[in-house]
Amino acid sequence: MKEENCEILENVLLSENTYRMTLRQQEENFPRPGMFFALSLPSFFLRRPFSLMDHHDSFFTFVYKVVGKGTKAMSEMRAGTSLNALLGLGNGYDLSKSGDHPLLIGGGSGIGVMVDLARFLLKEGKHPLVAVGFNRKVEIYAEEELRKMSLSYRLFTVDGSAGEKGFPTLALSSPHDYVYACGPFPLLKAIALTDPVPGQFSLERRMGCGYGCCMGCTIETKHGPRRVCKDGPVFEKEDLLW
């Protein structure tokens, strides 16, 4: 973990209520995909946690949805503004456990992480299938990034206004030997309860500190209580209770 003042390099509208922000960092703070950071916003007490879609030595990019006051304030920020951030939080995905044909399922704001993860898996010589799900066509983002990569890609919308109609869990019928997922609780639960293949899920919880001191984010697991921010946010699918 490192505290840094990060300059906003870019903050653009991607699709309905969804923005992409790029922040400067002094050095790489995210050795594994699935790690996150926590942004301090002027006049809000708690930091906001987000995970990355892309990162390089000197900058990182994430996609955020406007859901409340903090993200609304973020959407109005201009390039050049600096925000204090805690970087390099959480454990991140373990790539070594993946088979050669991992299935990556992302829903809503969990799709950015899957883009980052897919990039890492490709570097490891794996053949990922990425399935992403949105409610409606106007919400779609990250298409370009995913289509540019040499991987199999399936797009779902709940109302059928783009791609295949339905939830990305439909992709579970495609052959795969490992599953990575990030998204709303019902999506993760559906995967856990129907897919026998091992995998890892990234969870979201309201956080107090984001680095392990307050017990605000604890979940019960098969091995006892675990902090989503410090012991997670990535957990082995088998260890979670539903």
Binding site: E3, F44, L46, C209, G216, C217, T218, I219, P225
Partner: protein, 301 residues
């Protein structure tokens, strides 16, 4: 050179900055951020006899300049704390801590405190009769007779100095403080979180799973200050001032109100380095206000 040392029940602390219970866990993980030995001390996570998972989620709600929490005393139980957490802590920390002890009966408080009393790393016992987020745990902080009874039982079984931690959610905090002093308390810590809640406009339901929680953070500083002032003028034992401390100036103000030392809680959540910043910033703030010996300002207001 200013003198930041203070004396608490005969023990000397390098400075009055103590990290507050529940915001510093068992300390050792914080040691990777900065040398936690620079703190005056810290108070460990509230510990009960048996392990506790705590309350359902969400346990966190935001407020203006503060946070409302409903953790519910998640901890691995006193024996695991002593056998597992303390040895990890002692690898990185060579000072004494406050053992924050909780219970559901006077006897349980005394049992937890008794076991903590034997641990090397424990310098002080902090009896948390005031957790607002656990059913049945807060009645000890509202009734002077019960508060006194808990204090008396703990004192009877322990050798180390006993601080009783009070709740602000009472009509007359001074009467509770006096009852604890009569029960033999060596000091009083105050305040714990203030009852509070938030409602989510979209779902039309409370944000917290258990609906209500406790407010802490800079928002509560003036309330805590007033209570520290009232209590320290009524009791003869040292008082630790807790609530909303964020800057070295807040530390000075709390001490002028009557606190011999302070605890810093919610600010640890948003600034992991707050303890270090306060310790390093204190001498300069003292110089700015012409204070050469910190002890000299206790209760001057």
């Amino acid at each position: 050179m200013v003198n930041t040392k203070i004396s608490l029940c005969g023990q000397i602390l390098d400075n009055p900055i103590i990290a507050a219970a529940g915001t510093f866990h068992y300390g050792y993980e914080m040691a990777s951020l900065y040398d936690i030995n620079m703190l005056g001390s810290f108070s460990c996570k509230g510990t009960t006899l048996e392990p506790r998972f705590g309350n359902p989620s969400p346990r966190i709600a935001e407020a203006k300049d503060g946070v409302i929490i409903s953790i519910g005393l998640e901890n691995p139980g006193v024996d695991a704390v002593i056998s597992t957490e303390f040895p990890r802590l002692q690898k990185v920390y060579h000072k004494k801590i406050f053992a924050n002890c909780c219970g559901f009966s006077p006897e349980e408080f005394a049992e937890v405190a008794y076991r903590m009393d034997q641990a090397d790393v424990v310098g002080f016992l902090e009896i948390n009769i005031s957790c607002p987020n656990v059913k049945g745990a807060s009645r000890f902080s509202c009734d002077p007779a019960l508060a006194k009874e808990v204090t008396r039982l703990v004192k009877a079984r322990c050798h180390k100095p006993v601080f009783v931690k009070l709740s602000p959610n009472v009509t007359d905090i001074v009467s509770i403080a006096l009852a604890c002093e009569e029960g033999g308390a060596d000091g009083i810590s105050l305040i714990n979180c203030i009852h509070a809640m938030r409602i989510d406009l979209k779902s039309r339901k409370p944000v917290l799973a258990l609906k209500k929680g406790g407010l802490s953070g800079p928002a509560i500083f003036p309330i805590a200050l007033r209570m520290v002032y009232d209590v320290s003028h009524a009791v003869h034992v040292p008082v630790i001032g807790i609530g909303g401390i964020e800057t070295p100036e807040d530390v000075l103000e709390m001490m002028m109100a009557g606190a011999s030392a302070v605890e810093v809680g919610a600010m640890n959540l948003v600034d992991p380095y707050i303890g270090k910043k306060l310790v390093l910033g204190l001498p300069e703030a003292m110089e700015r206000y012409g204070i050469s010996d910190l002890s000299s300002i206790i209760g001057v207001a």
